[in-house]
């Protein structure tokens, strides 16, 4: 987070005087569970991109088609909606979750990444 300002240096009334400032707010620090992308299983269906409430899915156009590339951890709050809607995480026949290594998105505790 940017350095906090004193009361003399702030606009009055809690007003925000420029647009798009939510982008500067690092909501990634709220994350308890981290979505981890396993590209080898991804079909780039864009469900995660559609459902993500924080526009934290990184997408690139490849040959005119959108390709899921991973997560923007600066803004991702770790809500897990992406993993929840990912069709590759469920076996279509049994409707049960598939083994972790076969999924496109897995949720890992943030504590696994403390060294980062």
């Amino acid at each position: 987070m940017a350095e906090l300002k004193g009361w003399k240096d702030l606009p009055i009334g809690g007003l925000v005087l420029e647009p798009g400032t939510a982008k500067k707010y690092r909501t990634g620090t709220w994350r308890v569970l981290r979505p981890v992308f396993q590209p080898e299983n991804c079909i780039s269906c864009m469900f995660c991109w559609l459902y993500c409430p924080d526009q934290s899915i990184v997408v690139e156009l490849v040959d005119g088609k959108p390709k899921m590339k991973g997560f923007d951890y600066y803004s991702c709050k770790g809500c897990g909606l992406c993993a929840n809607v990912c069709p590759k995480n469920i076996d279509p026949k049994t409707k049960q979750p598939v083994a972790e290594e076969k999924r496109a998105i897995i949720m890992k505790p943030e504590t696994d990444f403390v060294e980062e």
Binding site: G6, W7, L10, P11, I12, G13, G14, L15, V16, L17
Partner: protein
């Protein structure tokens, strides 16, 4: 040419608002405020003002609507009383916190219960820490004058705070008095063009109002409100001086009545000051050195003025038209705390009177003065005027 009109306080406030011609008025009827907005609605219907009038479904909505209007850059006005002000409570704080120069007339009325529609100050006193500037009128003339002055104080760049114009319900709001009104043009020139700051409708400079403000910044924004209040006395005096030039009526933070040589001083808000002035005139004939200190402004509380005016006097009697259950009455509390550091402290006594519109007469006022003459004031004792034991 100033015009002398026999009108009620409510009509005087509405007349001032007609001359100000605000962009937006949103209000909900409540006794005894209703005639303010009734008179104003007629101006709207007759096309003498350009105001967008919003008849809302509650006072909570009325205050919300004027908050939205003021944030968009409009001059906004509302009026209420008692339970209506209480219903606004949440948004009253928001108006001050968003630093919106709204003006609200309050025809002071008792809060329920038991249900009562008559005058006391419990409604406004419940909002005294809301961050609004509170002006208190003694009569219809002052209610008119303060309404004319209010936007100039509220919109000042160092202030940017809402202003509540308090005038006693029924006594002032419904009592007919002679009020000297100014010419429309004079009022228009006096209040001038609105000083807009961060209007939402300025789409080339987008601004966000009311975003969430957590433990990292909320405290700093509250500190700014504390600071803004410090500028109010100076701005009030400037506006009052300018107003005196067009009206001949001179206002200050405090109305000093026969204070110069007074040994016994009474302090009271609102219409009761008139009865006190009459009683003082009578007591002066008997050679009693009595005077009145009437706060024209209660928030911010100009502590230094009280210290200057009360130092070395024999006794100070504070009259409150509201109680603070389990603590001292609000005006008394403020005065007493202001005197903590003065060199020569007067005796001081607290008298609560007039709750729920109970009449206060010169006899009651004299009774309180008599206690002071006898040296019979007890600092930690609350007494009651006009109450049956």
């Amino acid at each position: 040419m100033p015009l002398k009109q026999a009108i009620t306080g409510a009509e005087a406030v509405a007349y001032a608002m007609k001359q100000i011609n605000p962009d937006v008025v949103a209000a909900y009827p409540i006794t005894p405020q209703t005639p303010v907005v009734e008179y104003f609605a007629k101006y709207v219907a007759d096309g003498v003002v350009d105001t967008e009038m919003i008849p809302v479904e509650s006072e909570h909505s009325a205050m919300s609507a004027v908050v939205g209007a003021a944030a968009s850059g409009a001059r906004a006005f509302t009026a209420t009383a008692s339970a209506g002000l209480a219903l606004m409570h949440e948004i009253v704080f928001i108006a001050a916190s968003l630093r919106l120069p709204i003006v609200m007339a309050v025809a002071n009325r008792a809060l329920s219960g038991p249900l009562n529609i008559h005058c006391d100050h419990s409604d406004a006193m419940a909002e005294r820490d809301s961050g609004w500037i509170q002006l208190w009128a003694e009569n219809a003339q002052e209610a008119y004058d303060f309404t004319v002055m209010a936007y100039k104080i509220a919109e000042h760049k160092d202030v940017r705070l809402p202003v509540m114009v308090n005038f006693d319900g029924f006594i002032i709001s419904h009592g007919v008095e002679v009020v000297e009104t100014l010419d429309d043009e004079l009022v228009k020139d006096f209040i001038g063009k609105q000083i807009k700051m961060y209007p939402l409708l300025d789409t080339s400079n987008p601004v966000t109002y009311g975003s969430i403000d957590m433990y990292d910044y909320y405290f700093e924004h509250k500190r700014q409100q504390v600071e803004a209040m410090k500028y109010v006395p100076k701005v009030f005096k400037e506006v009052a001086e300018e107003f005196a030039k067009i009206s001949g009526r001179k206002y200050d933070l405090i109305d000093e009545y026969m204070l110069d040589d007074a040994e016994y001083i009474m302090i009271a808000l609102g219409s009761t000051a008139g009865t006190i002035k009459h009683t003082i005139n009578e007591l002066r004939k008997e050679g009693k050195k009595v005077g009145l200190l009437k706060p024209w402004i209660f928030r911010p509380f100009p502590k230094v003025e009280y210290q200057r005016l009360l130092n070395g006097r024999k006794a100070v009697v504070v009259l409150d038209r509201s109680a603070s259950f389990g603590a001292e009455a609000p005006l008394y509390q403020s005065v007493k705390s202001a005197l903590y550091e003065i060199a020569v402290k007067p005796q001081i006594g607290s008298y609560v009177y007039g709750l729920g519109g109970r009449d206060i007469t010169p006899t009651h006022i004299q009774q309180a003065f008599e206690d002071a003459f006898k040296g019979d004031l007890i600092v930690d004792e609350e007494r009651y005027l006009g109450l049956r034991e």
